[in-house]
């Protein structure tokens, strides 16, 4: 089988300006991946299907990479005025400062390709959105591989990636009125979710009072029935 590097070279030769990036997988599984530029992804996918015989798109999934606060320790040299030997004079001093910077997060779609004709695979493709809030569009690969149809709907549902060019982009597992995306790392379940009062505590008190009121009105009327 061709290695991911060879496939990358083949893509770059066939699709000019494809901007494929090789991502090393440090795990022992050795499944390295290629990150595609979303603007050329459909063209690259077509090339992979028709020319390199990757005819089976097996698995499509999303990954959420939230914004990450990274703390660096930086050594800073600055001049301060200090009293040395009773005389105020400028002294150079090196201090360690902690600085926090935020690496912006993104949503990622991961595709695992196999070849039925050549019995090869897997080839892992990835695509990243610009951010996690307002630029979450990625091109849909459903027109190339039909197997992405339900799986991209699932990613849209659970992660909130919008696949442009998908023929039928609706929620798959959650219901239509649902607002959030449960598979995101920062998803919080609403605490009053589908709250239904049961006969406990103050609800029980109200229920007993209600029953007593019914019983009282029934005996007043003298029907005596239905006790």
């Amino acid at each position: 089988m061709k290695t991911a590097e060879e496939i990358k070279a083949a893509i770059e030769a066939a699709v000019p300006g494809a901007g494929v990036e090789f991502i090393t997988n440090p795990s022992v599984s050795g499944q390295h991946s290629l990150r595609l530029e979303p603007s050329c992804a459909v063209e690259v996918a077509k090339f992979l299907r028709d020319e390199l015989s990757f005819d089976l798109l097996s698995n499509v999934t999303g990954v959420d990479w939230p914004d990450k606060a990274v703390t660096d320790k930086v050594k800073v040299t600055r001049t301060v005025t200090k009293t040395v030997d009773g005389i105020e004079q400028p002294v150079e001093e090196t201090v360690e400062e902690t600085r926090t910077r935020v690496t912006p997060g993104c949503l990622e779609a991961v595709y695992h390709l196999f070849s039925v004709a050549l019995k090869q695979g897997p080839l892992t493709l990835r695509m990243r959105t610009v951010n996690r809030t307002d630029h979450v569009e990625l091109p849909s690969l459903t027109p190339i591989w039909r197997s992405a149809e339900f799986q991209e709907r699932e990613i849209f549902d659970l992660f909130g990636i919008v696949f442009t060019g998908h023929p039928d982009l609706r929620r798959l597992l959650m219901w239509d009125g649902f607002k959030d995306h449960p598979m995101r790392r920062d998803y919080v379940e609403p605490d009053d979710f589908e709250y239904e009062p049961t006969a406990h505590d103050d609800v029980l008190k109200r229920a007993l009072a209600h029953q007593a009121a019914i019983a009282g009105s029934a005996s007043q009327k003298g029907t005596g029935a239905g006790q």
Binding site: N25, S29, Q31, S53, L56, S58, T61, F150, L172, L173
Partner: protein, 396 residues
């Protein structure tokens, strides 16, 4: 009926025009008024809670949209909050007809991520249990299919009689009939005793007779042939493009069995064949399952003969609380319903950063609409039954 037309051979060649893989748009006859029917979520044929929104022109299906999610519990999210071992019992609940193959697929993916080795006896045990699972799954799938056709009882009870014997074996070995929680990363939880292996040999010795019995009872049955031949045809190009795997793909004539392609575990040691269909209709999907049962019995006979002595688990292997190196792995097996894959991303912590199941049941349903369009509404139930799904896996 065009059931006699044979399908072409899949070679994956040639580019296709845009939109070739979409279901065709069928126009109703004249100014007929369409009848919209919601089949499910509590329809007897839906094996759980699954809905098909069908539009009918008379009895002809014009449109079919599957609706999922009634059994959704976000297993993938739950797994992100658990250690690697903590998700093992949850995998039993995916495809609850085949818990052992689910265990196997997950164990395989974690082994790919960590590089653990599996002792030989454990590999044999996995094959024996996996193939027993396949036999009982295919037997039940055939039973349910015939049940949905109206043959109430008999074939399903024949299948369940055999399934009981296999579930008794599972119970004797693992302690549970369905929620087995048996496989571990780098082996299996407990060893099989010689008495268990003898009992398994006895059950396997009776299986060829059962396959013959099903074959004699059903294969030449006139009603079954009339109802299933030429119904729900799936072309091999579309099947591959739509990610259909397992017996359904092979019934369409595509030679793709992950046991042969990846030869994961020790499958390259066994002598077995991959049955292929000619027509890709419901009858072929029934027949492929019957033939695969026979091949599984062959594997079982070989494995039960050759199983070596030894440990089933590396005593030094750490199964609890380990932290794989950062990285990712995709592991897959040929489950009875198709390609069952697990995709794991580790960030170096004790829990998986991402845990994804590639469910064969859900992805095989992609082509349900294509197969059902233009058929009678009564045949939709058959076509759906021939896909062989379990909702625990579809909705996860």
């Amino acid at each position: 009926m065009n059931g006699t037309d044979k399908l072409g051979v899949f070679d994956g060649s040639g580019s296709k025009p845009d939109g070739w893989n979409r279901p065709p748009v069928i126009e109703p006859d004249g100014d007929a008024e369409l009848l919209e029917v919601a089949m499910g979520p509590h329809h007897p044929s839906t094996h759980g809670v699954f809905r098909m929104d069908v539009a009918l022109d008379g009895e002809r299906v014009i449109r079919l949209k599957p609706v999922f999610g009634y059994l959704h519990r976000n297993h993938e999210k739950i797994a992100e909050g658990l250690g690697y071992l903590g998700s093992m019992p949850f995998t039993d609940r995916l495809d609850y007809m085949c818990p052992l193959t689910n265990n196997w697929a997950y164990a395989l993916a974690v082994e790919k991520l960590t590089g653990q080795e599996v002792p030989e006896r454990a590999e044999y045990l996995r094959v024996i249990l996996g193939e027993l699972t396949r036999v009982q799954n295919h037997a039940s799938a055939i039973g349910f299919l015939i049940q949905e056709m109206g043959a109430s009882g008999t074939p399903l009870m024949y299948a369940f009689r055999e399934r009981e014997k296999i579930l008794d074996l599972f119970e004797a070995l693992t302690g549970a009939r369905m929620m087995v929680n048996y496989m571990r990363f780098g082996g299996c939880r407990v060893d099989a005793t010689p008495a268990w292996l003898d009992a398994a040999r006895k059950v396997v010795a009776g299986l060829p007779g059962f396959a013959d019995e099903m074959d004699r009872l059903l294969s030449g049955n006139e009603i079954l042939m009339a109802r299933t031949q030429g119904v729900g045809i799936l072309k091999p190009e579309l099947a591959v493009n739509a990610g259909v795997t397992g017996p359904m793909l092979r019934a369409s004539g595509v030679n793709y069995d992950i046991r042969k392609v990846d030869s994961y575990g020790i499958y390259n040691r066994f002598n077995f064949r991959v049955p292929l269909g000619d027509h890709g209709d419901v009858y072929d999907r029934y027949m492929i399952r019957l033939l695969e049962m026979r091949e599984s019995i062959k594997i079982l006979e070989q494995a039960l003969k050759d199983i070596p002595a030894g440990p089933v688990m590396d005593p030094k292997a750490k199964i609890r609380g380990f932290r794989p190196k950062p990285g990712e792995a995709y592991g897959r097996i040929e489950a009875p319903k198709g390609e069952l894959g697990f995709y794991l991303i580790s960030d170096g912590g004790p829990n998986p950063y991402r845990y994804r199941i590639r469910p064969p049941s859900l992805i095989n349903l992609t082509v349900l609409e294509d197969m059902a369009l233009g058929e009678n509404v009564a045949d939709v139930v058959l076509i759906f039954g021939s896909v062989d799904i379990v909702l625990g896996e579809v909705d996860r």
